[in-house]
């Protein structure tokens, strides 16, 4: 950068010069007579020595001033380091804040999208509640509120309930049991028709029709069977499943 000599170098050079001059003078003082320097030369040398000594003193004064400045610089350097630490700390916090904000914005965006998706196809709350009723009415989702250990009710249809249903009554009283379920009117009613018939023979009377309903042949006609168990629906229809485990979380997409 700069070709200036540092104060340290200057001082060292002056010391070297003083050493050389003093060596010259001492050698001259012990030299034999014919090698001694002349008077003026000797005086010149001595003057040079004194001048060098003065120069040394001046440079030392300069060095002490520079030491003062150096102290000030140390204080400044400590201040700058403090500022650097603060800047680093602030930078870290800003980065953290940026990350948190970007996450928050992304999530808010997702929410807005889901809101617009929901608004495009609205569903009436009545329908939702109706379906919820139907799903939970069979007690398969959650036990009834008054259920205790030892309660015979089960989340699936028990054998007693099955026997009390259509299939069960068909087995025991084929014509009679069926008549109670009948929905269409028939031309002939076969009451107490064949009470002693073997149950196996009645299997041909069951037939699937194209509409998807199961029909049973009674005499000349066939009657559609209701495959649903209406009895179960009326049970506990007032009680909705309020278990928190069965409700879907609002965050699920």
């Amino acid at each position: 950068m700069s070709s200036q000599m540092s104060t340290k170098e200057k001082l060292l050079y002056i010391i070297d010069d003083i050493e050389l001059i003093s060596k010259e003078i001492i050698e001259n003082s012990i030299a034999p007579k014919h090698l001694k320097l002349s008077g003026p030369e000797y005086a010149q040398l001595t003057e040079l020595l004194v001048a060098k000594n003065n120069e040394l003193n001046d440079t030392l004064k300069l060095a002490s001033e520079q030491a003062q400045i150096d102290k000030k610089m140390d204080i400044l350097k400590a201040e700058v380091e403090r500022q650097d630490n603060d800047i680093n700390h602030l930078q870290k916090q800003l980065k953290e804040a940026e990350q948190i904000l970007s996450t928050a914005i992304y999530q808010a965006n997702q929410k807005l999208q889901s809101i617009s998706r929901a608004n495009k196809r609205p569903v009436s709350s009545e329908e939702l509640i109706k379906f919820a009723h139907r799903i939970s009415a069979s007690n398969a989702i959650c036990a009834p509120l008054t259920w205790q250990q030892g309660d015979p009710r089960r989340p699936y249809p028990t054998d007693i309930e099955m026997r009390l249903g259509l299939l069960g009554r068909l087995m025991s009283d084929p014509i009679n049991g069926h008549m109670l379920q009948q929905q269409n009117s028939l031309s002939d009613l076969h009451r107490q028709g064949h009470p002693g018939e073997i149950p196996a023979a009645q299997q041909n009377q069951f037939a699937w029709h194209s509409s998807g309903e199961m029909h049973i042949s009674v005499g000349q006609g066939s009657v559609p069977m209701d495959t649903r168990n209406h009895k179960q629906e009326t049970e506990d229809v007032e009680v909705m499943s309020t278990d928190s485990s069965s409700s879907s979380s609002s965050d699920s997409q």
């Binding site: 001492i26 030491a67 003062q68 700058v80």
Partner: protein
């Protein structure tokens, strides 16, 4: 600056104040002892012994001065360079303080009413 006071602490910080740089007196003593003309031999031998001792001391003094100068603080640059550095450091400090002030009190979140 040329005082002979020596600091006895283990970690002696060398300042210009406690620098031992008295070279000229020794040189003077050496020359004087050489110039002295003694009549008896014993004084002469003693004198020559003293003289060689003083020469050694001169050398030692010079080396000590050199070592202490190397330890002086703040003289690694010339005065102009040092002042230049000082100014640069001040500017740096000012800039950094400005930067911090700007960001610390910046408020960019306006909540619309």
């Amino acid at each position: 600056m040329e005082s002979d006071e020596q600091n006895q602490d283990l970690e002696r910080k060398v300042t210009v104040e406690n620098l031992n740089i008295e070279i000229l007196p020794i040189i003077y003593e050496i020359i004087r002892s050489v110039e002295k003309d003694h009549h008896d031999n014993t004084a002469k031998t003693r004198e020559s012994q003293d003289c060689s001792q003083k020469v050694l001391e001169l050398q030692k003094r010079l080396d000590q001065a050199r070592a202490e100068i190397r330890m002086l603080p703040g003289i690694d640059y010339s005065k102009e360079q040092q002042l230049h550095h000082l100014e640069a450091l001040k500017t740096q400090l000012k800039l950094k303080q400005e930067l911090l002030r700007k960001y610390r009190y910046m408020y960019t979140f306006e909540i619309p009413k």
